[in-house]
Amino acid sequence: MNDGKKNALAAICGLLFAFGLGLGGMTNPLKVQAFLDVLGKWDPSLMFVMGGGIAVGFWAFRAAKRRGHPFLGGSFGWPSSIRIDARLLSGAAIFGVGWGLTGYCPGPALVALGAGRIGAIVAVSSMVLGMLATQAVRRPSSSA
């Protein structure tokens, strides 16, 4: 019954997220690659994005864990998997290679797509293909 409020909340959070990503420098693929370029002219700025985000998020997650339900009802969708396995490690490793090649992780790629950047439109299209392909070959039992 709170679906309308939940949708409005999601839209506001998406907009805020796009604002924060742009403000922090994450939507500039060259800046992202400069952060990853530790052996070149390293730009550590993006560590500050992470630091700022975690400084706020830490308290929110701490509060959330102590609550029974979210403010708009329903339940908390905590991730069920806790294992550090080959799948997590290989997935993260593959993601990092793609991130380094493009300078876009999923959020900034979608923001840049909205801004009409051709590179981001191509990257997001193949990202969706990669997601669907991986979901298709995923064993049905492994509901991580």
């Binding site: 999601a10 052996l39 700022g52 294992r83 997935g91 380094g100 979608l110 990257a123």
Partner: protein, 139 residues
């Protein structure tokens, strides 16, 4: 936007933290973009609609950046479209296999002190650094 930007980047991070916090406290959702997008395929009803509203906010936010301050998007990247296609595919595969990206593992996972997310973040930052080092002939 190039060069060291500790203040802007911290402010951007704080805004991201607020967005992540609102979503978890009000609707119990983790603001991991790869998951929000990837799990929208095949989803229905309210489970689909909140995802579309969130993703719509992100995309509209990009349009607003273009109108207000296009410099935030960087100079049009010199990265070829072939590289974008290959790299984008790897991002899709990797985030699906590893159940998360920079926001899901990096921002939300570390915020809730998940060992899985800490490890995933260290791994993708490391392979990202290695990839840039190889691509730029630093090794």
């Amino acid at each position: 936007m190039m060069g060291f930007t500790p203040v802007g980047s911290t402010l951007g991070g704080l805004v991201l933290g607020v967005a992540v916090s609102l979503l978890i406290l009000f609707d119990g959702r983790i603001a991991g973009i790869a998951g929000i997008l990837g799990r929208s395929f095949g989803a229905r009803g309210p489970e689909l609609s909140w995802r579309l509203y969130f993703l719509g906010g992100l995309v509209v936010g990009g349009l607003l950046w273009r109108l207000v301050s296009p410099g935030v998007l960087g100079v049009p990247s010199s990265t070829g479209l072939g590289t974008m296609a290959v790299g984008g595919f790897l991002v899709g595969v990797g985030t699906t296999l590893g159940n998360g990206c920079t926001s899901g593992h990096g921002l939300c996972g570390i915020s809730r002190l998940s060992p899985r997310s800490v490890v995933a973040t260290l791994v993708f930052v490391a392979t990202g650094m290695l990839t840039v080092a190889v691509a730029r002939g630093r090794l």
